[in-house]
């Protein structure tokens, strides 16, 4: 048992931290968000340079062969700086789909391009009726010659407007909520029949609505009728990274709050000297430490081989992280007072990101119900 970073991990984190401290101040980030794309190609290139784009892919595929823990450590740092580039969609989500579902040929084709920053991925999975159920898929995939054509509407595709390749869940067989018969297809963003409308999300990231109308799939990830297990693995790894990202956000929001409490004076004394507020800040620390613990567990859970065990563990992670994110996000605003309600002050941006983070791949309520329905974590005697 050892929760410290290895030397390699420390080096990796340091290089990311240095880049972000140089290039990702609050005002710099604002400029990236204000650009037409909504993010910075310059930073994207820099991410490629320090190796975080190819991080989780096998060396033989052209990646750096790092483990999930390393990816999560980057996610934590990116959370601390509220990075808006499509790293999470490309490397964490898309990367997991590619690693777990892609053929060797496909991986060897795409990974070097991803690592170089030339290919960006997005997962088009959400549909109007599906909410948080990965298996609720109305979009269809039909055989067409030697390949597949995809038709359907996908919503809230994170970074769907900057992806070069979309990973699309589509139904090959079965009813809309059947767990079998779902395939994962790679569709090029520029393929005929693909219409993409990008928009900004409330946390300052980008997303898209995508309409597919007999769009040809360039590839299928694994078995076209058994994509759900891959999708679940993708969700599990993504949730682990989201947990670390949330801890990064919470750490910063808490630190900003403490700083403010030490300097802001009311009634002739720093507000941090008021015991009721001190206890609130202590409760935030308790929540963050429990969340940090849970994020470590998230890595264990995501790597669990038994899918039921994995699902239960990952649901527990989502519950704990979601609860903590809500408390820390809301209280960091409340303890600041009005100033944190303004767009010009960073704290609110952490609150917003924490709110969205909770909802990605199912919010705490959803996972609490799922976990409770599966009998919880403790086995009855």
């Amino acid at each position: 048992m050892d929760f410290d970073l290895t030397e390699d991990q420390s080096l990796l984190v340091d290089s990311v931290r240095k880049l972000l401290s140089d290039k990702y101040g609050f005002e710099q980030r604002k400029a990236y968000m204000a650009s037409e794309r909504g993010w910075s190609p310059e930073l994207w290139a820099a991410f490629a340079d320090i190796g975080v784009l190819g991080l989780p892919f096998a060396e033989e595929d052209g990646g750096f062969g790092a483990g999930l823990t390393d990816t999560c450590l980057i996610a934590e740092q990116f959370g601390r700086s509220l990075v808006v580039e499509p790293w999470f969609s490309t490397v964490v989500i898309g990367g997991a789909a590619l690693r777990h579902g892609g053929s060797a040929a496909l991986r060897q084709e795409l990974v070097p391009l991803i690592a170089a920053g030339e290919v960006r991925l997005a997962l088009a999975q959400q549909e109007r009726q599906s909410r948080y159920d990965l298996f609720d898929v109305a979009t269809t995939a039909k055989k067409s010659g030697s390949g597949w054509v995809i038709s359907g509407n996908k919503g809230m595709v994170i970074h769907g407007d900057s992806a070069t390749h979309l990973i699309v869940s589509a139904r090959v067989a079965g009813g809309q909520r059947d767990k079998a018969g779902i395939g994962l297809f790679v569709v090029e963003a520029g393929a005929p029949g693909v219409t993409i409308r990008g928009f900004r999300t409330v946390d300052g990231q980008r997303a898209a609505e995508i309409i597919l109308d007999n769009a040809p799939a360039a590839h299928v990830l694994g078995d076209a009728e058994a994509g759900l297990p891959v999708l679940e693995k993708v969700a599990a790894e993504s949730i682990a990274a989201l947990a670390f990202e949330a801890v990064g956000c919470m750490d910063v929001a808490h630190a900003m709050t403490l700083d403010y409490m030490k300097t802001r004076e009311q009634f002739g004394r720093p507000i941090g000297s008021f015991q009721a507020l001190q206890h609130r800040a202590a409760d935030m620390l308790v929540a963050i430490e429990q969340a940090r613990s849970m994020s470590f567990y998230a890595v264990q859970a995501a790597e669990e081989t038994d899918p039921d065990e994995r699902r239960r563990g990952i649901s527990a992670v989502k519950v704990q992280i979601g609860r903590a994110s809500r408390l820390v996000g809301q209280q960091s605003i409340q303890l600041h007072g009005g100033i944190a309600m303004t767009m010009e002050y960073a704290c609110g941006h952490y609150f917003k990101r924490l709110t969205v983070n909770d909802g990605l791949f199912g919010n705490a309520d959803f996972h609490l119900r799922a976990l409770a329905d599966e009998g919880g974590l403790v086995r009855a005697a």
Binding site: E127, Y132, F199, V202, G338, M341, T342, T355
Partner: protein
């Protein structure tokens, strides 16, 4: 003990409801149902309709256009507007500045300002908060110096709600810098067109423009714009703040939002079933409904006390209204956001056309996250909920 409205009060409620149904512009109502703040035009149009009916200034004495209602009627009126939903008469005019002018103003001030306030010919805003004086209002630093027939005002106000619409501002300014905190403050009215006033928007975290900074740079206003006595402005401020006994309870508004939530939850799928079928969602919603019912009764208790004896005796129930009223409103806004799931996250101008226009996402989801973010302010402003607890500990608990 009699816990019910009288038949007359119930008839009055029906009268209000019928009037709203017949006169509220449908576009305004629809706009509010969708959770958007009313535009300036909507507020002005509706207040003038109410004013024509004699209902724009429920709290004012009859001689200045008030309808002469009881506390219960005023409550019913306010609730019905919130539930419609319809815009309320502009609080800065009707509940804040108006009553101060009525209580402390000269006859001339009353004649000059009150009718225009009632008809919303002038839109007023409130110049109280300052960057260094948040919860500690009396710590304000804006100065007003008497020079001949004028006050010369310098300083900065902040969190000035809807100053961008305002024709006038009522300002608390320090007129005696050597007196004790509360004792050197005056209450002064300023035309927003006076040279030296600059309004700078504050964009809140959801992207909206509701509040502003207002800068005063050698702003000269006539001496006659002082309300009440010089250096006694704190009395006006206390009167103004103490006047608001129910404002943040907003029981009708919360009930309207819960209705909206139920409509949405019936249409939205969750696990392939309507969201309303999810026991956990229902539990969270029902807990708020129960708390709201208790709050409604708490409001009734305060009204009943007001009707019986306006002895100004503090009622512990009053303290509950701010804390619970805001917690409930925040809770409902969070449930609305959660009901929308990922589709709440589309950003943009909440007053613009819905951007979920491709029917990939439901239209109604748009802006719900923004409202959730924005409503975090409710437990901060108007005396933060922490300040409320301090007050309770002192005033009612003797701690």
């Amino acid at each position: 003990m009699d816990l019910n409205f009288s038949p007359e009060e119930l008839a009055f409620r029906q009268e209000v409801r019928d009037f709203i149904d017949a006169n509220l512009p449908p576009a305004t109502r629809q706009h509010l149902i969708e959770g958007k703040g009313p535009t300036k035009e909507m507020v002005v149009e509706w207040q003038r309709i109410l004013n024509k009916r004699g209902w724009a200034v429920p709290e004012w004495p009859v001689e200045w256009g008030g309808p002469g209602w009881s506390a219960a009627q005023r409550y019913i009126f306010r609730e019905e507007l919130q539930m419609a939903p319809a815009p309320s008469p502009l609080g800065f005019n009707v509940n804040m500045c108006g009553p101060v002018v009525i209580q402390f103003g000269t006859e001339e001030q009353k004649k000059r300002f009150l009718p225009r306030m009632a008809n919303l010919d002038d839109w007023w805003c409130q110049g109280f908060s300052e960057p260094g004086a948040g919860s500690d209002l009396a710590g304000l630093k804006t100065r007003a110096v008497r020079e001949g027939d004028e006050w010369v005002i310098n300083g900065q106000k902040t969190w000035t709600t809807l100053a961008q619409h305002a024709d006038w501002i009522f300002v608390l300014a320090r007129t005696n810098p050597t007196a004790k905190k509360q004792e050197g403050i005056s209450f002064i009215l300023c035309d927003m067109k006076t040279p030296g006033i600059t309004v700078r928007p504050i964009i809140t975290i959801e992207g909206g423009h509701e509040v502003n900074e207002v800068f005063f740079d050698n702003v000269r206003v006539p001496a006659e714009n002082l309300v009440g006595e010089e250096n006694k402005g704190w009395d006006c401020a206390k009167f103004l703040l103490g006047n608001e006994r129910f404002g943040q309870a907003r029981v009708g508004a919360s009930r309207e939002r819960i209705r909206r939530l139920k409509v949405i939850a019936a249409q939205t799928l969750d696990g392939g079933e309507p969201l309303m079928a999810d026991p956990e969602f229902r539990r969270q919603m029902t807990e708020i409904e129960v708390e709201l019912k208790a709050l409604e009764m708490t409001v009734m208790r305060v009204i009943a006390q007001d009707m019986k004896r306006r002895d100004g005796k503090p009622n512990p129930a009053t303290s509950v209204l701010k804390i619970k009223g805001t917690e409930i409103q925040q809770g409902v806004s969070e449930l609305l956001m959660k009901a929308a799931g990922p589709y709440a996250w589309v950003d943009g101008d909440p007053d613009a056309e819905g951007t979920n226009q491709w029917d990939v996402a439901p239209d109604w989801a748009y802006g719900l996250a923004g409202t959730y973010f924005n409503w975090r302010k409710q437990s901060i402003y108007g005396g933060s909920n922490e300040i409320q607890r301090n007050i309770m500990a002192k005033a009612f608990l003797g701690l």
